[in-house]
């Protein structure tokens, strides 16, 4: 079903870009447009209270589509129906948007504390590395029709460059936190 020697890896690269690059960029755009309609505000508030769900949406999306059975089924679907490709990409993008919402959402006050955000990203990175590791070292029967080199490359894309994207996110959050304006100041009396 996959003639292309690097079909799986290409899917993986697209998925990673969709979740970890496109999703955050969409949310960033919404934030720059200052999109703060009551609906967005309510959504942000809900997500802020349930950040673990957003975390699960991002990491769950990654895990779900690479469960062998699901992967197999999705590949078959996209061969039969061209629209399915679009649906799958949209689902990935949605996962990415939800995942980055607590960190970059349009309502500044409802964003996660940058240091909590670092933990959020670091734990997601560990989960992503685990999945990448499982794919890399999976035996050939697990993903039928995928060449070992292709499967390894796919797993490694998730594991290593994927981890670097999370790391970049962590460093950006740290920078944001270090540059944040201090809140009310009490000027010291001269000693």
């Amino acid at each position: 079903m996959m003639e292309n020697e690097y079909g799986f890896s290409i899917h993986m690269a697209i998925g990673i870009v969709e979740i970890l690059v496109a999703g955050p960029l969409v949310v960033r755009m919404l934030a720059m447009r200052r999109l703060r309609t009551p609906l967005v505000r309510r959504l942000s508030k809900w997500i802020a209270g349930n950040a673990w769900l957003a975390w699960l949406a991002g990491t769950g999306t990654m895990w779900f589509w690479h469960i062998p059975a699901v992967h197999h089924w999705a590949m078959g679907m996209s061969e039969r129906h061209i629209w399915w490709m679009a649906v799958q990409q949209l689902l990935l993008l949605m996962g990415g948007i939800l995942f980055s919402w607590p960190l970059l959402g349009p309502c500044r006050g409802l964003r996660m504390h940058p240091l909590a955000g670092i933990i959020y990203l670091a734990t997601a990175c560990i989960s992503c590395s685990l999945m990448g590791l499982l794919i890399t070292f999976a035996p050939p029967e697990v993903y039928p029709g995928v060449s070992p080199r292709d499967r390894e490359t796919a797993g490694l894309i998730m594991w290593v460059p994927g981890c670097l994207i999370y790391l970049t996110g962590c460093l950006l959050l740290l920078r944001q936190w270090l540059h944040r304006q201090d809140r009310p100041r009490i000027v010291l009396p001269k000693i």
Partner: protein, 747 residues
């Protein structure tokens, strides 16, 4: 700085001398973070002498080609004990000693968040070390190297009990390290003076914070691997035994999943020590506070993306090697940033070449050499050529000694006046510095050449090839110089503690809070803390004209959340432990596959029924907690009893299932790889349920006897643990029982 009128230091408590029985008891029973920190440091010195003595015997064996000073078995035991001791019982306790001693002082706290847990951490590490050394008396020390590769660590290859002691000693030491890390994180987050925002944390404290998270993320992998190895050796399980369907490569994966982060665990806090020393002795503010913190975080995260580079020679394939070669080269970036930060801090400063500063400068040179040889290993063909030669030995010693140990020595000479209240003899200290640095370079610089010439490590002797004997002789002489200087170091410390010149409170004109209190600090560290205006608060206080515009901010720190925070950290590290076991299960299920069909053996319906009981118990606990908060102790106790009952019902169900599997299907831990993986995974979960039940029984007893003392925070902490245990079962149940049933194969 120091005048003749400096008063003699006052001991915080009279009669601390260990010659009197009262003093000894005082040390053993202490929960004071300063005393425990000092105990950690002495532990480290004790094991430094033992680990050093064992390696001097090894170097003596290598002084001549074809030497028979040591038998091969003795040689194997000695180099294994040397590596294990130095990493787990010298550098680690020294790092935790400094952390335990200094963190509360640097953040203006009077003790750690959990003082008794602190004492527990030390003593369990201490007994772990004793247990490791007890192996010599019990019939032979471990002999498979500090990373203890399978299958050499298996019973068939090493039938003496040494490796069992290795497992037990490291499990105890690891438990101490994890509990100390949890304690340090909670202390840093919740015990700071309210004016010290995280952006004003001294860099040493920042590095300890990052490092403690790294410990929590990496040690569970080692603990899981050690538990598996113990099961293999004692109960004939098959985790790392190829004949029984296990995988010896799995050991390397689990070990390096821990081991590479461990390398950074041994250096990150030391980077923090350097970041304190460079500004003080250059009389300049630290250059790039933010980048130093950021590169610390980057190093911690990258640790999990590079560990496969220890396994380039295991035949994982070019694809895998290529990715990890690239990521390993990247490690040079954050480390390089730090080096340049320190250079920039020194640049233009008025440098004082004190002993701590000498060690710090020597570090810059030696660590850069070690870093560069490390980068060369990222290139796969070079790694293939040089792996398991003396080039690796040279590299790792330049990093461990030139990086970690130099920093710890710099820290020792920097803080010894604070810890003892007295100054070490300056002339002797300089002698020590020069002899140690010269001895170190003589020993290890030449080993790069030996490695390039192809001399393999861990072989008890070598043939008389051109150049090998003279290089080894120089290296051994260097080793003796280092050994002699370590004796000098011990003499310097003892002399300083006994009769050093009084140091005064602030002998270095330093920046951080620990120098504001007396030397040695009184039992209660601070009666009042100076305003914290930046990361060098004490300097701002001494020179207000330099600190124009500095301000104090008050933070909200909710100390009541400490119990819950501790429990969250604990279950975070437990989650990784279970993930390691689960990964092993999944790995064996597919690679090369179980020889039995799990869906035929396991009945997911009957297990599902008692699983529901366990999940229902989470609801019961939630009700109990709610009732307790509403001060309805009667109902709360009722719900607790219901929860305990449900948990016991689950355990009974599991026991029945085990009985069925063992008697009907003859499935045991040793019957095959499925039994091994299944019983380990579900058994460890069952143990956690049992611990949860015990905790709840304790709560019940507490509620009966003194309900007023029991705080809702403790109830909440136990609840977090209990919900976690139930959540883990959701994952195990789906992977082990439901998935094979749905997919008709093991995952």
């Amino acid at each position: 700085m120091i005048s003749n009128t400096t008063p003699a230091p006052e001991q915080p408590i009279p009669g601390l001398g260990i010659s009197s029985p009262q003093g000894l008891l005082q040390w053993i029973s202490s929960v004071d973070h300063k005393q425990i920190g000092i105990l950690y440091l002495w532990l480290s010195v004790l094991f430094l002498l033992l680990g050093g003595a064992s390696i001097l015997l090894v170097r003596t064996q290598l002084i001549l080609p074809d030497n028979h000073f040591l038998a091969p078995e003795a040689y194997d035991q000695l180099f294994t004990m040397h590596g294990t001791t130095m990493i787990f019982f010298v550098v680690t306790p020294a790092i935790f000693g400094f952390s335990t001693y200094l963190v509360p002082l640097m953040i203006g706290a009077n003790d750690m968040a959990f003082p008794r847990l602190n004492a527990f951490s030390f003593w369990i590490t201490f007994f772990g070390g004793l247990l490791l050394y007890f192996s010599f008396l019990a019939g032979g020390a471990p002999d498979a190297g500090w990373f203890n590769y399978a299958p050499l660590n298996e019973y068939n290859y090493s039938s003496r009990p040494g490796i069992g002691y290795y497992c037990a000693g490291l499990l105890l030491g690891g438990t101490g390290t994890v509990s100390a890390s949890i304690n340090l994180i909670v202390t840093i987050l919740y015990n700071r003076v309210p004016a010290m925002g995280l952006r004003r944390l001294p860099l040493f404290v920042w590095m300890v914070l990052i490092n403690s998270f790294l410990v929590l993320a990496s040690f569970p992998a080692l603990n899981a691997a050690l538990a598996m190895l113990l099961l293999d050796r004692q109960l004939h399980a098959h985790f790392f035994n190829m004949v029984g369907g296990g995988s010896s490569l799995l050991w390397q994966h689990l070990f390096w999943l821990f081991g590479h982060p461990e390398v950074y665990i041994l250096i990150l806090p030391v980077f923090g020590i350097y970041s304190e020393i460079f500004p003080v002795f250059s009389r300049r503010p630290i250059y790039g506070y933010g980048t130093l913190v950021g590169s610390g975080i980057a190093i911690a995260l990258l640790a999990f993306g590079v560990w496969v580079h220890h396994m380039f020679a295991t035949g994982l394939g070019n694809t895998v090697n290529g990715f990890f070669a690239a990521s390993s080269l990247l490690i040079g970036v954050p480390t390089g940033i730090k080096i340049f930060n320190w250079l920039a801090t020194m640049h233009g400063g008025s440098i004082r070449f004190t002993v701590p500063m000498l060690f710090a400068i020597a570090f810059l040179i030696e660590f850069t050499i070690g870093g560069l040889s490390g980068i060369s290993f990222a290139i796969v063909p070079i790694d293939w050529q040089l792996t398991d030669t003396y080039y690796v030995v040279a590299h790792l010693h330049f990093v461990f000694i030139g990086g970690s140990l130099f920093g710890l020595l710099a820290g020792l000479f920097y803080w010894l006046p604070k810890i003892s209240g007295r100054r070490p003899d300056d002339r002797l200290s300089r002698w020590f510095f020069w002899s140690f640095v010269i001895g170190f370079n003589l020993t290890f610089l030449i080993q790069h050449a030996l490695g390039a010439m192809g001399m393999p490590r861990r072989v008890y002797t070598y043939p008389d090839l051109p150049g090998w004997a003279i290089c080894n002789q120089l290296s051994t002489i260097g080793g003796y110089v280092m050994g002699a200087s370590v004796i000098l170091l011990v003499f310097i410390i003892v002399k300083c503690v006994r009769s050093g010149a009084p140091a005064g409170n602030d002998p270095w004109d330093a920046n951080t809070l620990e120098w504001t209190t007396a030397s040695p600090p009184p039992l209660r560290n601070f009666t009042s803390v100076i305003p914290v205006t930046s990361e060098r608060a004490f300097r701002d206080f001494k020179r207000p004209e330099d600190a124009a515009g500095a301000s104090v901010q008050r933070q909200m720190i909710r100390r009541s959340e400490r119990n819950a925070a501790m429990m969250w950290l604990l279950i975070g590290t437990e989650a990784i432990f279970f993930l390691s076991l689960l990964m092993a299960y999944v790995y064996f299920g597919s690679n090369p596959g179980f020889t039995v069909t799990p869906s035929a053996l396991l009945n997911w319906r009957s297990t599902g029924i008692f699983s529901v009981l366990l999940w229902a118990s989470s609801f019961g606990y939630w009700r109990a907690e709610q009732r307790f908060r509403l001060k309805n102790t009667q109902l709360s106790q009722m719900w607790l009893r219901v929860t305990i009952g449900l948990a016991l019902a689950f355990l009974a169900g599991q026991a029945k299932e085990y009985y069925h599997l063992v008697h009907e299907h003859h499935l045991t831990l040793s019957s095959g790889i499925f039994g091994t993986a299944f019983f380990t995974l579900t058994g460890f979960h069952g143990l956690h349920v049992l611990v949860g039940v015990l905790l709840m029984v304790l709560l019940l007893v507490r509620m009966n006897s003194k309900p007023a003392v029991l705080s809702p925070q403790v109830m909440r902490a136990v609840g977090i643990y209990w919900h976690f245990v139930d959540a883990v079962w959701v994952v195990i149940f789906s992977v082990v029982y439901v998935a094979p049933h749905v997919l008709k194969t093991a995952i």
